[in-house]
């Protein structure tokens, strides 16, 4: 069977890319969190097609492309990135990538590119224009992305000031996801026991949601160093670090969003996910209440450190009404 390898440090982006593969295409899907994992998987023959992100920790997309050439690995690479700078486009093509897709990837675009590059063969005359039922209006998405960008800029600045480090700012990933996908996304966390998570509810007039903060466990050593903690980084210290980082990131991000939406968010007390209760339990109790959720995902990195964390803001579908109303001045043409 044809194998597709999806390499992205953001789990939502990985799921999103997997979801955008053509429906009728029978493929085996593999995932990698960074270039290093991708190269290993490619050597095992797990990736006749590679969907590659550029900004990743450990080994980024450019280095991955270089390594593919150096090691003479046979694979077709399509770069999927939020880096919209023209040089990025040129550079990856020079390094052998077939094509470049801007994030967030969509089904029609991916299909078109796969067809254009001969990766996918046209099946019959299947040109029926699927109405994008669950797709977010591009203008709305753009607007959410922009206000999150601004909020993240503030959050990054705050984090940088408190920690005295340079923060690589993420490009927010905004998607409407089904509960089943949220389930998948969170199970992904449960399967890898190497992450710790905190979740915190927030509510404002007409808007409600939860913030999910996930820190990879390999980051704790460096986070402790940055925070100036000497000695053993045991479970208790890790929990402190997790709470501190979550407080700053969730708090400043919500503050930034609230000021742009001109409202106030109440924040519930954070709950420790990893230790508190199993993630499947958490989802099963929410299953009936949620149909779809607006997910804003942010992957942070710290320059010069092996620190990686994800902040996911999940908003109820109903919240979008209130948000769109508040943002109507931005949404108008």
């Amino acid at each position: 069977m044809f194998s597709v390898l999806i390499c992205d440090d953001s789990m939502v982006a990985r799921k999103q890319a997997a979801k955008c593969l053509p429906d009728d295409w029978e493929v085996q899907i593999h995932f990698a969190k960074h270039g290093g994992e991708a190269i290993d998987a490619l050597k095992e023959g797990k990736g006749q097609l590679l969907l590659l992100d550029l900004n990743m920790p450990i080994m980024d997309g450019y280095e991955t492309l270089e390594n593919i050439i150096k090691e003479g690995i046979d694979t077709k690479v399509v770069v999927v990135s939020g880096d919209i700078q023209p040089e990025a486009h040129e550079r990856v093509k020079a390094l052998g990538a077939l094509d470049f897709i801007e994030k967030p990837v969509s089904k029609p675009v991916l299909k078109k590119i796969l067809l254009a590059n001969g990766v996918l063969e046209e099946v019959k005359e299947e040109v029926k224009n699927e109405p994008a039922v669950d797709a977010l209006d591009p203008d709305v998405r753009d607007c959410y992305q922009e206000i999150t960008n601004i909020a993240m800029g503030q959050a990054g600045d705050h984090l940088a000031r408190i920690l005295n480090v340079f923060v690589r700012l993420p490009i927010p990933n905004v998607n409407l996801i089904e509960v089943s996908e949220l389930h998948m996304m969170l199970q992904d966390i449960e399967l890898k026991d190497s992450v710790s998570g905190i979740c915190q509810g927030f509510v404002g007039p007409g808007i409600s949601g939860e913030a999910l903060f996930i820190l990879s466990d390999s980051s704790f050593g460096d986070v402790a160093r940055i925070m100036g903690i000497n000695g053993q980084v045991d479970d208790q210290v890790q929990l402190e670090l997790l709470m501190d980082a979550a407080n700053i990131l969730i708090g400043t991000c919500l503050n930034g969003l609230a000021s742009q939406l001109d409202l106030y968010f109440s924040q519930g007390h954070p709950v420790v996910l990893g230790q508190h209760r199993s993630i499947s339990e958490l989802i099963s109790s929410n299953k009936l209440r949620w149909k779809r959720t607006l997910a804003i995902e942010l992957s942070y990195g710290l320059e010069g450190y092996n620190v990686h964390c994800d902040l996911v803001l999940l908003l109820t579908e109903e919240s979008m009404k209130a948000m769109n109303y508040k943002l109507s001045h931005l949404l108008e043409d």
């Binding site: 407080n247 708090g251 007390h269 954070p270």
Partner: protein, 166 residues
């Protein structure tokens, strides 16, 4: 007429203060030097210290058992970034060592506390005070500890009987 309005305002202020006093959550207002400015009835009852005994006193002098460096660190984002900060009982069971709210039927010796630190902005727009809210989460903590103990026992039983697939 104006006098009546003033009276109304005064009455409103009175019951607002009453509410702040009687709400069953600990409320402490601290300035940037950690001097206590507000100490509500919850704090008074559980600590046994009157507001007059703590007002304008330094928090760390009154409660030397509080880890000063640790708490100052938690408060930095509140004062510097206008950010709310949260401390869960799992990090530290309590900030103030208070006895259990239910001294007879309670199973724990002391009150487990969740703490919220919230910035208070002055007239100049600068954060010059901070509100510390103390929530009693003893029941939550006790239930969680019990659930974990049950899980451990269950796992031991499973190991013994070899029903790992249970």
């Amino acid at each position: 007429m104006e006098e009546l309005d003033d009276l109304d305002d005064l009455a409103e202020f009175h019951w607002m203060m009453d509410m702040l006093q009687t709400v069953d959550v600990g409320i402490v207002v601290l300035d940037t030097q950690f001097q206590i400015r507000v100490w509500n009835a919850f704090m008074e009852s559980h600590s046994g210290l009157l507001p007059s005994q703590v007002r304008d006193r330094n928090l760390f002098q009154l409660f030397p058992e509080i880890d000063q460096a640790w708490l100052r660190n938690k408060c930095r984002p509140v004062f510097e970034l206008k950010n709310r900060a949260f401390i869960t009982w799992e990090q530290r069971p309590y900030i103030y060592k208070f006895p259990n709210y239910r001294p007879i039927t309670g199973t724990e010796d002391f009150m487990y506390q969740n703490v919220t630190l919230s910035p208070l902005t002055g007239a100049t727009g600068k954060v010059d005070h901070m509100c510390m809210m103390i929530y009693d989460v003893t029941d939550v903590a006790a239930n969680k500890k019990r659930a974990e103990a049950v899980e451990v026992t269950l796992n031991e039983l499973k190991e013994k009987t070899g029903h790992r697939s249970m």
